[in-house]
Each structure stands twice: as structure tokens, then as C-alpha cells.
Amino acid sequence: MFKKLSFSTLGSAFLLFALSTVAYAAGDEMAISALKYFTVSVFAAGFAIALAAFGCGLGMGTAVKSAVEGIARNPESSGKVTVTMLIGLALIEALCIYTLVIALILIYAHPYSEPISKLFAVH
């Protein structure tokens, strides 16, 4: 477990410095720090969505479980139970959507977005 963790941090540090060699080659001061910032924030965005999806999956699974149990206990109430379940699912999913918006901000709208887009717009 610790071997896997240290491998992933080593791998991310390697990725960080590998990507900044592009900027070192260009010799641009701003681009170097911008690229380091960008690498870290993209990393954070990926982990943010993964954790949010995990939590929301658990929550929604519990909601559907209760709904199915309710319908199995009383099949006549299936209309009301389904509507309530769908509303609950939409509200829980909203939490994952908030995280998605933050992740999009981290990838596309962070303070260094102009130097990064200039760097990647070579082709």
C-alpha cells in the first residue's frame, strides 16, 4: 500500500518536471511557474471528481435501495415512491455537479490560463 502511494507521488513529480521541460526549453519564466501550477491543479481536479463520484454513488445507492424496499413492501405506492426517489437523486447528484464546476474552473479558468493557453496553442 505504501509502495503504491509513493510510486504515484513519484510519478506525479516526474510528470510535473517532465512537462516543465517544455517551458524550460522555451526559456520563459512565467510559463515555467504557470505550467507547474497547471499540472498541480489538473491533478487536483481529477482527484476531486473521483472522490465526489464515489461519495455520490454511495448516497444514490442508498436512496435507490430504500425506494426499492418501499415498493417491494407496498407495490401500490410505486408512483409516489418513484417520484420522491427521482427528486432525491437529482438533489444528491447536484453535489457531484458542484464538484464538476470546481474541477472545470481548476482546468480552464485559473489565474494562469492565458500563459497556459499560449503554451498549448502552438499547433
Binding site: 427521482l86 427528486i87 437529482a90 447528484e93 447536484a94 458542484y98 464538476l100 464546476v101 472545470l104
Partner: protein
């Protein structure tokens, strides 16, 4: 990822207002949605009779059903606030829905449109509270224990302001996420059938998000209308 081809934007290009159209396509499409809703309303109410025609019966089912559902939740005194709730629901539903048609863009895929739907609902909650309770509306913010009142007022205000954010970002995130996934699938897979599962999910999401916005607004109105604990 190239700029998508939008019909109304091309139309505006022909007229000559192309610059405005390219920068603000969501404004143009919200005008389009308003036009669609007004035309439907006029067509439905052109000749109201006891024996309804085709269009009139469709709208009777929709609006009557929504009114019963609203009064179910808010109680009888919520009936006069039904028009703003029905407008919000129909506007957001049609806005979401035109995103599924190729060549059209959903205006709710932009944070400005969803904020413009959430802020009037928020203002209306407080207007309803003041209208119903008068100056005693502040008691809803203070909570049951009187010496905790300053803390409770701050917390309740933050909760109220968070309602605007949650309503707008929930709708915006759903629509923007659907657009993003569709465009990325088009870019990656390219064939005609690759984005099909996302479009089916998008159909469900369009209706559910409009319904959730409407339901939450109804519940906020109910909370403002009821007696303070």
C-alpha cells in the same frame, strides 16, 4: 474543438449583427424560447371554450396538473404564486429541451441564464415572507432561543444566499456537463451513434432538472409562507 454551427447565429450573421450573435448565443436562444412560449400561449388561448380544442386541452392538462401539484405542496394560500412557478418550470424545460435539437444551443448551458432564473425566485421568497408576516418575518431567521439570535441570523442568511448558488449551479452544471460530454464524444468517437446514450440520458436530465428547480422553488415559497417555529 471547433465552434458548433448554430442556426440562429448564422441567421444573425446574414442580417449583419454577426459580432453580437457570436459572443452571446445564449441570449439569442433565450429570445427564441420566449418567442416559442408566447406563440404556444397565444395559440392555446385563442378561442377558449367549454369544450376544449386540441391545443387547449393539452395546455389544460399541463397547467392544471402543475397547479394541483403546487397547491398540494404549498397549501391553499400558495395558489396565487402559481404563475411564477409555472413560468419558471416551462421556461427552463423548453430551454433545456432545445439543446437536444442539433443546431440549437440550450441557453441554460450558461451561468447567466440560470442565475437569471434563480435570483427572482430568491427575491420572491422574501417578498412573500414580508407580505405574509409583515415585520415579524425576521423571526424566521432568529430561531427558537433568543440569545442565540445574532448567530442564527448570520447562519440563516448564509443558508439563504446558498440557495441562489445551489439552484443556479445545479442547473448550469447539468446542462454544461451534458454539452461537454457530447462535444468530447463527438471529438473522440466521431460516428453518428456514439453520443446516442448521452442524448438519451440528456432527455431524462432535461426534464428532471427543470422539475427539481420548480419543486425547490415551491418548497422555498412554502417555507416562507408557513408560521415560524
Amino acid at each position: 474543438m471547433e465552434h458548433p454551427i448554430l442556426f440562429l447565429v448564422q441567421l444573425f450573421d446574414l442580417i449583419g449583427l454577426g459580432d453580437f450573435a457570436h459572443h452571446y448565443p445564449h441570449v439569442i436562444y433565450s429570445w427564441f424560447v420566449m418567442l416559442v412560449l408566447i406563440v404556444f400561449g397565444l395559440v392555446a388561448t385563442r378561442a377558449i371554450s367549454i369544450i376544449p380544442t386540441k391545443w387547449q386541452s393539452v395546455f389544460e392538462v399541463v397547467i392544471g396538473g402543475m397547479e394541483e401539484f403546487t397547491v398540494d405542496i404549498t397549501g391553499e394560500e400558495g395558489r396565487r404564486f402559481f404563475p411564477i412557478l409555472a413560468t419558471v418550470f416551462l421556461y427552463i424545460f423548453v430551454c433545456n429541451f432545445i439543446g437536444l435539437i442539433p443546431g440549437l444551443l440550450p441557453p441554460t448551458a450558461n451561468l447567466n441564464t440560470t442565475l437569471s432564473c434563480a435570483i427572482p425566485v430568491f427575491i420572491m421568497t422574501h417578498v412573500i415572507g414580508v407580505m405574509t408576516h409583515g415585520a415579524k418575518y425576521i423571526k424566521q431567521f432568529t430561531g427558537p432561543i433568543w440569545w442565540l439570535a445574532p448567530l442564527m441570523i448570520v447562519l440563516e442568511s448564509i443558508g439563504h444566499l446558498a440557495r441562489i448558488m445551489s439552484l443556479s449551479i445545479r442547473l448550469f452544471g447539468n446542462m454544461m456537463g451534458k454539452e461537454l460530454v457530447l462535444s468530447i464524444l463527438f471529438m473522440l468517437a466521431g460516428a453518428f451513434f456514439a453520443p446516442l446514450p448521452m442524448l438519451v440520458l440528456g432527455l431524462l436530465v432535461c426534464f428532471i432538472q427543470a422539475f427539481v428547480f420548480y419543486l425547490l422553488s415551491t418548497m422555498y415559497f412554502t417555507l416562507a409562507l408557513e408560521e415560524a417555529h
